[in-house]
C-alpha cells in the first residue's frame, strides 16, 4: 500500500479531490452543519480561508478511504496512529485506507480537544494525545452519516443497523452495504449530532487501537521511494548553500564577491544578515564555491566570549554567590529550613554539555516561485508546517495563502525541525534568482550552525531525618537556554515535604533549542543519580527507597515494580556487571528503566548490555510502534549520555561532522532492549520521548553500583570515566 504523497508524482490535494469523486466529510465545527463536497468545486472549503471546517475523511465509490493526517511524520509513526483513531470509530476496513497529508490549516486541522483547531505542530510527543478525542469523534460522526444513509435507503430505523469493518449490516434482513456503495449515493444530512462518549467504542471493542499492525510509511522506506524534501528535483532547479556566521550574531563582510561571481556555474551571490548565500547550477559547484567564500566577520556578538568548558565552571560560583535572577519553578513547604534541620544532608553538582540534534537528513528545503512571482510552491520536512509556510511567505513577500506548501517526510526532527530558518533561507535565495531552488545545509553547516540542547549544571541538595526519610530537596539549575532548562525538573510522583526548584538562566548568546525530551534528559539524570546517592548514603536499596518516595503515587509504583520485575532487580548480575535504575515522567507517560553495564577499565568505555523499560503511557494506540519509539529513545539517549558533546571556543562550535561529533553506532547499542507497557484504558500520553530521560540516571547509577564511583558530568566519555576511576 502506497500513499499518493509517497512519490514525486503525487497529485496535489486539490487535484485529488477533483479526480476522486465520492464524498468528503466537511463538518463545520461551530454548528456541526455538514456540507458535501461531492460535485462542488473542491477549491473552496477545504484549504481556503473558511475557519470553521473540519474535514478528515474522503470515501470513494470504489471503497477507498482517504484519511487526512495533520501531523509531521519524522519516524515517530503518528502518520499511522492518527488515521487509526479515525478508522477505529468509523469502523473502516484498514486495508482500504490510504493516508494523505492534510492541508496546512490549523483552525481546521490543529490539535486540541474534541473540536481541534489548536496548533499544528508536531512537538512534545503530543500528536496522539492531542488528537485522540478530536479524531475519534470525527470517525464516529462519519460512521453516523454512513448508517443514516443506509437506513434511509433500506427504509429501516438507524438503530437496527450495525457496522463491520467497511460494511453497514442490517442483521434482521441480512442486508449488507459497503461504505463505498454508500458513498456513491450518500447525502450528508443537515445535522450530524455530536456523538456522546458513551456511544463511542469501548476499549474492549477496539479493532485497531492497541493492535499490532504495520506502519503505513514503512514499505516506501525500504526501496528508496519515500520522499524527503531533499529528494525533490524540479526542472531547471538551481542549488543554494550558505556560509553562516561561525559565531552566532556576527555580521559578514564579503571580501571576494567578484571572484565568486566569476566561478563557472555560479548563478548568484546573495548577502544575508548572518551569512552569504551562493546559488549555483550544480551541487558540487555549490560546495566548492562555499569553501572559497572569504568573509570578514564583524560586530561583537555576545557569543564571541563564550568558552563552554570554562563557562560551565563559573556556574557553581554563581550559585554560591546567588548571583543573577533565579526563577522559582516549584516550592513546597520550606526547603531551606528543611535542609537546616535535617539529620544528614547531601549535596552534589551534576553537569552536562551541549548536544546536537544530528537528524540524519541535513536541513534543506525547495522553493519554486511562479513565473509571475505571485505564488510559490514550497517543499520541506518540518515539525511546524504553518510556521514554515509563514516564514517562506514573509521572505517571498507573499500572503501565506499564495504559498502552496508540500509537507515531506522528515529525515529526523527531534526538535530541530520545529524551527523554520532553513525554509526561510531557501525562500530568500529562490526570490533572488527567480528559479526553482534547493537549499542544502552540509553536515558541517548543520553541526556548526546548530541549535543545541543547553549546557547546564544542576546543584542538588537534600536532607533526611534520623530514620533516613527524605525531608528536604533543593534543585538549582544553571544554564543557557531559558525555558528549556526547567523541563523535567519537577517530579510530582515523589512525595517530598519541603522542596524548592529554581532556575538561573545565563545568556551566552548561542543558539539553543528543544532536543528530544528537552530538559528532561539532563534534569532526570541529576535527580535520579542523586536519589541513588541518598539511598546508598542511608544504606537503602535504590529500588526500595524510590518505592517509599512513591507511596502516594500508585501509578508510578506500578511502573517501578514492573521494571524491577522485568529486570529481576534483586538477582545479582554476573561478575563484572552492575545494574542501575531510574524513573521519569515525560509528556504524561511514566517510565521506569533499568540497565546492566560493564566498564572496560583500560579504555574507560562503558558498555550497556541490557535495558529494561516499563512505561505507563495510557492507552497504547500502536503497541509495536510504541515499542520502537522506546527502543529509539534508549539508543538516542545512550548516545547523548555516553558520547555526544558540543563545545564552544570563543563562540565557535568545535565540532563539524560525525568524526568529531560521534553518535552511537550499532556496535555500541545494547544487546537487548525490553519494553513493556502497563495495560491501561486511560487516554493516551506521549511516547516519542518517554524512554529517553531514564537513560542518564540508570547508567550513572549502574556505574556507581559497579565501581563505587560517581559520574557527575554527561556525557560519560571514556576520558571522563578513566578520570573518575583513577581519581
Amino acid at each position: 500500500m502506497k500513499a499518493l504523497s509517497h512519490t514525486r508524482q503525487a497529485l496535489s490535494r486539490r487535484q485529488f479531490l477533483t479526480a476522486a469523486g465520492g464524498i468528503t466529510f466537511v463538518i463545520t465545527a461551530s454548528s456541526l452543519v455538514p456540507r458535501s463536497l461531492f460535485g462542488e468545486s473542491p477549491d473552496q472549503p477545504v484549504s481556503g480561508e473558511d475557519k470553521s471546517i473540519n474535514a478528515w475523511v474522503h470515501i470513494s465509490p470504489d471503497g477507498k478511504i482517504t484519511i487526512y493526517n495533520p501531523a509531521a511524520e519524522m519516524g515517530q509513526g503518528s502518520m499511522t496512529a492518527l488515521p487509526v483513531l479515525v478508522a477505529e470509530e468509523m469502523d473502516a476496513d484498514w486495508s482500504m485506507v490510504q493516508i494523505e497529508y492534510s492541508p496546512i490549516e490549523p483552525s481546521v486541522y490543529g490539535a486540541g480537544g474534541r473540536r481541534g483547531g489548536g496548533r499544528m505542530m508536531t512537538v512534545g510527543s503530543w500528536a496522539v494525545s492531542g488528537y485522540f478525542d478530536n479524531l475519534r469523534h470525527a470517525g464516529a460522526q462519519v460512521r453516523y452519516v454512513l448508517l443514516a444513509n443506509a437506513a434511509e435507503k433500506w427504509e429501516v430505523p438507524v438503530e437496527s443497523l450495525t457496522t463491520e469493518p467497511g460494511v453497514v449490516v442490517h442483521e434482521a434482513s441480512g442486508k449488507r452495504m459497503t461504505y463505498g456503495e454508500i458513498a456513491s449515493f450518500a447525502r450528508i444530512p443537515d445535522e450530524i449530532p455530536e456523538i456522546p462518549m458513551e456511544k463511542m467504542k469501548s476499549p474492549d471493542r477496539f479493532r485497531l487501537i492497541g493492535k499490532v499492525m504495520p506502519r503505513y510509511d514503512i514499505p516506501a522506506k525500504t526501496d528508496g521511494s519515500a520522499q524527503f524534501a531533499m529528494d525533490v528535483v524540479l526542472p531547471d532547479m538551481v542549488y543554494g548553500v550558505i556560509a553562516r556566521a561561525p559565531v552566532n550574531g556576527a555580521r559578514p563582510e564579503l571580501l571576494n564577491e567578484q571572484d565568486l561571481r566569476k566561478m563557472p556555474g555560479v548563478v548568484d551571490v546573495v548577502l544575508l544578515e548572518y551569512g552569504v548565500g551562493i546559488v549555483t547550477e550544480s551541487i558540487e559547484t555549490a560546495f566548492s564555491a562555499q569553501n572559497k567564500i572569504q568573509i570578514n566577520w564583524t560586530g561583537s556578538p555576545k557569543a564571541e566570549g563564550h568558552n563552554s568548558e570554562a563557562d560551565l565552571e563559573t556556574y557553581p560560583g554563581l550559585l554560591d554567590r546567588r548571583e543573577g535572577r533565579f526563577n522559582r519553578i516549584a516550592e513546597n513547604g520550606d526547603a531551606e529550613d528543611g535542609l537546616n534541620t535535617a539529620a544528614r544532608t547531601y549535596t552534589f553538582d551534576y553537569r552536562n554539555d551541549y548536544v546536537y540534534h544530528a537528524q540524519m537528513e541535513p536541513l534543506n528545503a525547495v522553493v519554486a516561485l511562479s513565473p509571475d512571482g505571485q505564488s510559490a510552491d514550497v517543499w520541506a520536512g518540518t515539525q511546524a508546517p504553518d510556521g514554515a509556510r509563514s516564514a517562506a511567505a514573509r521572505a517571498l513577500g507573499l500572503d501565506r495563502s499564495r504559498v502552496n506548501f508540500h509537507p515531506c517526510y522528515l529525515g529526523g526532527g527531534f526538535g530541530r525541525r520545529s524551527m523554520s530558518d532553513y525554509v526561510e533561507e531557501a525562500a530568500i535565495l529562490a526570490k533572488a534568482v527567480k528559479k526553482p531552488l534547493k537549499l542544502i545545509w552540509t553536515r558541517e553547516d548543520d553541526v556548526q550552525y546548530g541549535a543545541f540542547r543547553p549546557m547546564s549544571l544542576q546543584r542538588m541538595q537534600a536532607g533526611v531525618d534520623q530514620s533516613g526519610n527524605l525531608t528536604a530537596w533543593k534543585h538549582q539549575i544553571v544554564g543557557t537556554g531559558g525555558g528549556l532548562l526547567a523541563s523535567g525538573a519537577e517530579n510530582p510522583y515523589y512525595t517530598i515535604p519541603n522542596l524548592r526548584i529554581e532556575v538561573l538562566n545565563v545568556d551566552h548568546g548561542v543558539r539553543t533549542k528543544h532536543w528530544r525530551a528537552v530538559g528532561h534528559g539532563p534534569n532526570k539524570y541529576a535527580i535520579e543519580a542523586f536519589i541513588d546517592e541518598i539511598a546508598l548514603g542511608e544504606g537503602r536499596d535504590p529500588y526500595a527507597f524510590r518505592r517509599e518516595l512513591m507511596k502516594n503515587s500508585p501509578r508510578a509504583l506500578k511502573v517501578l515494580d514492573k521494571v524491577a520485575k522485568m529486570s529481576d532487580w534483586d538477582a545479582r548480575p554476573r561478575e563484572g556487571r552492575a545494574r542501575g535504575m531510574a524513573f521519569a515522567e515525560r509528556s504524561g507517560s511514566l517510565a521506569g528503566g533499568v540497565c546492566e553495564i560493564s566498564v572496560d577499565r583500560e579504555s574507560g568505555q562503558i558498555r550497556v548490555h541490557h535495558f529494561w523499560v516499563a512505561i505507563d503511557g495510557g492507552t497504547i494506540v500502536q503497541p509495536d510502534n510504541a515499542r520502537a519509539q522506546t527502543e529509539g529513545c534508549i539508543v538516542m539517549g545512550l548516545s547523548s549520555v555516553l558520547t555526544e558533546r558540543i563545545t564552544f571556543v570563543d563562540g565557535k562550535v568545535q565540532q563539524s561532522n560525525f568524526n568529531d561529533y560521534e553518535i552511537l553506532r550499532i556496535a555500541d547499542a545494547p544487546e537487548s532492549i525490553e519494553v513493556e507497557f502497563i495495560p491501561s484504558t486511560e487516554d493516551p500520553a506521549g511516547l516519542g520521548e518517554a524512554g529517553l530521560p531514564v537513560v542518564g540516571g540508570a547508567v550513572a547509577n549502574a556505574f556507581r553500583a559497579l565501581t563505587g564511583k560517581r559520574l557527575l558530568h554527561m556525557p560519560f566519555t571514556p576520558d571522563r570515566v578513566l578520570e573518575v576511576l583513577n581519581g
Binding site: 519524522m74 519516524g75 515517530q76 509513526g77 504495520p214 506502519r215 510509511d217 514503512i218 514499505p219 522506506k221 525500504t222 526501496d223 528508496g224 521511494s225 519515500a226 520522499q227 524527503f228 531533499m230 529528494d231 528535483v233 556555474g265 550544480s282 551541487i283 558540487e284 559547484t285 566548492s288 537528524q359 540524519m360 537528513e361 541535513p362 517526510y409 522528515l410 529525515g411 529526523g412 527531534f414 542544502i440 552540509t442 553536515r443 558541517e444 509495536d624 520502537a628 519509539q629 527502543e631 529509539g632 529513545c633 539508543v635 538516542m636 548516545s639 561532522n657 560525525f658 568524526n659 553518535i663 552511537l664 553506532r665 550499532i666 556496535a667 547499542a669 545494547p670 537487548s672 532492549i673
Partner: protein, 151 residues
C-alpha cells in the same frame, strides 16, 4: 564530461561537470533519490551503493571512477520490494524516519552476498559504518537475521 556505466543493470550515459560525484549524479541528474546524503565524508553510510558488488560510499566517489563499472542502488535491489532484506525490514518494522535505511539495506545486502549466515558479531562489525539516529539498531540486527534465514 560524459560517463558511461551500468546502473541497476542498465547502461547509462551521463553528462556531468568534471567534479561531479556519484552521489549527486545519482540523486540530481538521474533522479534516483533513494541514495541519501548524510555527511558528505563517508562517515555515516547513508549513501551506500554497490560498486561492482562492493558496498561503497557514493558521497566520496567521483563520478569518473565508476566509468564502465556497475553500480547498484536501493532502487535496483529488487523491482518490487521483494529482496529478502526488504521483506524482513517490513516484517521487523525497522525504519523510523527512514532516511538512513537505504544505506542500511545496501550495506546488509552486501553482507548477505558474502556471508550466508552471519553471526550477530559479524552483523554488528559489518554494519557499524552506517549510522541510524532514530536508534533502530536492534531491529536492523533482527531483520538481517530473518533475511539470512529466508535465503
Amino acid at each position: 564530461m560524459k560517463i558511461t556505466f551500468k546502473l541497476n543493470g542498465k547502461t547509462v550515459q551521463v553528462e556531468a561537470p568534471s567534479d561531479a560525484s556519484l552521489l549527486w549524479t545519482l540523486r540530481e541528474r538521474l533522479e534516483l533519490t533513494g541514495t541519501k546524503f548524510g555527511c558528505g565524508a563517508a562517515l555515516c553510510g547513508a549513501c551506500t551503493v554497490h560498486l561492482d558488488g562492493i558496498p561503497t560510499r557514493a558521497c566520496i566517489t567521483p563520478l569518473s571512477m565508476v566509468s564502465r563499472r556497475s553500480v547498484t542502488t536501493i532502487e535496483g535491489l529488487s523491482e518490487d520490494q521483494s529482496h529478502p532484506l526488504q521483506k524482513a525490514w517490513v516484517e521487523a518494522q525497522v525504519p523510523q524516519c527512514g532516511y538512513c535505511q537505504s544505506g542500511q539495506i545496501m550495506q546488509a545486502a552486501a553482507l548477505l552476498e558474502n556471508t550466508k549466515n552471519p553471526s550477530r558479531e559479524q552483523i554488528v562489525a559489518y554494519m557499524n559504518g552506517v549510522i541510524c539516529r532514530c536508534g533502530t539498531y536492534t531491529r536492523i540486527i533482527k531483520a538481517i537475521e530473518m533475511a539470512a534465514k529466508e535465503r
